[in-house]
């Protein structure tokens, strides 16, 4: 039964490595492909729009308040 367990160990580690090595390989290949065909996608990603909007709202509120204060 130990022998069987050892076989399972070899099989298991083999599959895990196979899977992750293939993944590494595909990811590297994908990276090159993307660099070539979609170089613009490597731009710094902008911040998410929602939080941006919220910030804008906050800023607008503050600006309004300041404006109000100035005029008064």
């Amino acid at each position: 039964m130990i022998l069987e367990a050892v076989k399972y160990m070899i099989l298991g580690m083999g599959v895990v490595y196979l899977f992750l090595i293939m993944m590494v390989w595909v990811l590297n290949w994908q990276h090159k492909l993307l660099l070539k065909y979609f170089p613009e996608s490597f731009q710094k990603p902008e911040e998410k729009t929602t939080s941006k909007r919220e910030k804008l709202k906050k800023v607008a509120a503050i600006t309004a308040a300041l404006h109000h204060m100035k005029n008064s």
Partner: protein, 439 residues
């Protein structure tokens, strides 16, 4: 305050222990006292007596032969009396760890409370019609809850660090040796008569080395449902204990120079690359290991929802409401396996021990793989980040970073360690698929 909290819990245990002692004493004497009582009272007295027989005190003090729990499993006299008190104390310890030590409170608190409720005598909470029993049926028996948690994990995980240096994924592969090495060890020890685990049980227990809660629960409920409680407790406890378990192993296996290795900058990651990543992993899973597809499918679904960028609503729901609700239900349901009749069995000790071994082997394998890769590869690789390959995201990566800083305070390894860390999640899911395909 924390030390005092401990003192307090000890004080509380003084409250519990006398009851336990009482239980054991009464346990011995119960055979005689029993018969006298039953005929003595009448009318209102008999009502009182009947009521007394429905109290927990009576149940603790007068355990009976042949009692079955709400699910039809037998409970020994020890499990009915002192056993339940021990389990209740263990649940209090889990609360202490969660609150004072900050050990995975999001799961240990529901699990601990589920454990408390599961050890209440007479109340049918974990059986059919009981609310925890219903939660169990609704999501553990059919594996829905761990899968939904995994969706949330996918939606919360940024695989960017892995994409920035894909080859660190191999460290996440090496760490899975914790699973398969322990499998061999468990089988060997069973062969030598030290434990008594079947091959299937051994396989289930080994998955604790994957350092991933939902994967452990998923595998346990498929391969060894009776061991679920102990396995879940072991997995979450050791994940919480990562800062204690890993550093000594890491220091023992690396030289000062290796720990000081600085890693070069990582390559840039495009938004499109992140979006393709879950699909790529899923396609690989389909081709190589369909048995892993429930786990990896859920993980990649969550991640794709996150990275697609067009369904923010769903992504937030997966990361918040859904995962929170499921965590509550899952925790309570898993806690039901902390009932004395399931937990206080000889196997539990073996599970706790093997789990710890699996964790340690995984850590060591990750570090050693790191040393090998450092020698083979052109770019320098700090072997410490190999320890992060066990998963336990993001704790293990932080530990790698901290141990590295002990040797060189200016060497920030965190983002480099996140690569193997998230790869470890995938690696464990693959390992789980292998186990499922064998058994």
């Amino acid at each position: 305050m924390k030390k005092r909290l401990l003192t307090f819990f000890l004080a509380l245990s003084f409250f519990l222990i006398p009851l336990g002692v009482l239980a054991t004493v009464n346990h011995m004497a119960s055979n005689e006292t029993h018969k006298e009582v039953q005929t003595e009272n009448k009318s209102f007295g008999s009502l009182l007596l009947n009521f007394y027989k429905q109290t927990g005190i009576y149940a603790f003090l007068s355990p009976k032969e042949g009692v079955k729990n709400a699910k039809g499993d037998e409970i020994s006299k020890f499990q009915q009396s002192f056993g339940r008190i021990i389990m209740i104390a263990i649940c209090f310890v889990l609360f202490y760890l969660a609150i004072a030590k900050g050990f995975e409170p999001l799961l240990l608190i529901p699990i601990g409370f589920g454990g408390l409720l599961a050890n209440i005598p007479l109340a049918n909470i974990i059986g059919d019609g009981g609310f925890i029993g219903e939660l169990f049926k609704a999501g553990i028996a059919n594996e829905l809850f761990p899968i939904l948690i995994f969706m949330g994990v996918g939606a919360m995980t940024d695989f960017g660090p892995l994409l920035a240096n894909p080859k660190t994924a191999l460290l996440g592969a090496a760490a899975q040796f914790g699973i398969f090495g322990t499998l061999v060890g468990a089988v060997a020890l069973s062969q030598f008569g030290i434990f008594d685990f079947s091959m299937q049980d051994a396989a289930a227990i080994s998955i604790i080395g994957g350092a991933d809660g939902p994967t452990t629960i998923f595998i346990a409920s498929k391969l060894a449902p009776d061991l679920l409680g102990a396995m879940a407790v072991a997995a979450y406890s050791y994940m919480a204990l990562v800062p204690v378990i890993q550093p000594p192993i890491m220091r023992a296996l690396t030289s000062e120079e290796e720990r000081k290795i600085r890693m070069t900058t990582r390559r840039q990651v495009s938004k499109l690359e992140k979006m393709m990543f879950p699909l790529t992993v899923l396609v690989l899973t389909i081709l190589i290991l369909p048995e892993s597809s429930p786990l990896i499918g859920a993980l990649t679904f969550g991640n794709f929802v996150r990275e697609s960028g067009v369904v923010e609503r769903l992504s937030k729901t997966l990361q918040n409401e859904l995962i929170n609700i499921v965590a509550i239900f899952l925790g309570l349901a898993v806690g039901s396996k902390l009932a004395a009749e399931y937990f206080l069995v000889p196997e539990t000790l073996g599970i706790l021990l093997l789990g710890l071994v699996a964790f340690s082997i995984g850590t060591a394998a990750g570090v050693i793989m790191g040393k090998i890769m450092n020698k083979m590869s052109k770019e320098p690789i700090n072997p410490l980040i190999g320890a992060a390959g066990v998963s336990a995201v993001p704790m293990a990566a932080r530990v790698a970073n901290r141990v590295g800083m002990e040797s060189d305070p200016t060497n920030v390894l965190l983002m480099h360690a996140m690569g193997p860390n998230v790869a470890g999640v995938i690696g464990s899911a693959v390992a789980a698929g292998v186990l499922l395909s064998i058994f």
